[in-house]
Amino acid sequence: MTEAEFRSLYGQYRDPLFRFGYRLTGSVEAAEDLVHDCFVGLFRGGFDARQGSMKTYLYAAMRNLCRKHYRDSGREDLLDENADPPVGSGVVDALISRETAAAVRLAVGALPLLQREALVLFEYEELTLDEISKIVAADLGAVKSRLHRAREALRKALAPLMKETA
């Protein structure tokens, strides 16, 4: 891969991958580190077209780096798909103070990682279910289930906001 090719890909995918990393980790610094590692890895390791499209490849690489980030920081509990998302007091406080963005951030951040990544990729990055399925290496049924559970949890957590805006 030439530097010109790399720059083109970097310009195209830097922001989406950063947003994805940020919404998974909740940290600008962590997201920047992960985007850095993702692109440097791409440049040094190259891309094999048999791995699918560049888009799904980069999202999958970013996802794996996020999971490693959680493991390294000793937060494997968030990798558990069946963990119940706690509606923390922070969400309630944010709702009370009408800080909608903060409430959404906390509610999404409280989701188990597998549900969160499905939700972020579908609702924020507007990827198709098929693309998400390839990125997270799970069948379509599992992705639909995770998305369904994430939405249910968020409807519950953000119910006061939903009623307000309806």
Partner: protein
């Protein structure tokens, strides 16, 4: 199971905007892809370590194992009274049987 768009939920979710990455990220990424691959550093370190190890082993002298020693004094007393050399001697070695 709903997987189609949920506009009401999506509208609320979109209230949470992601920030922009810092400009330092671009500099860091471009700097690191331009830097030469550092594989030779690990190779050189390995060679250096092996050299040090070989030198260390070659300079090591085998330890002299000191056996427990006891000083034994042996006194040989010979009585040569009446000894006369043989006129024509012939030495015969006889193996002593147990």
């Amino acid at each position: 199971m709903m997987t189609e768009r949920d506009d009401e939920l999506r509208r609320v979710l979109r209230q949470w905007k992601a920030p922009e990455p810092g400009a330092a990220l671009d500099e860091r990424v471009l700097r690191d892809i331009r830097s030469p691959r550092r594989w030779w550093i690990s190779v050189a370190a390995g060679v250096l370590l092996a050299g040090v190890l070989v030198m260390h082993l070659s300079q090591r002298r085998p330890e002299v194992v000191k056996a427990d020693t006891q000083v034994v004094s042996v006194a040989v007393i010979a009585d040569a009274t009446g000894f006369q050399p043989m006129a024509e001697g012939k030495i015969t070695v006889v193996k002593r049987t147990q």
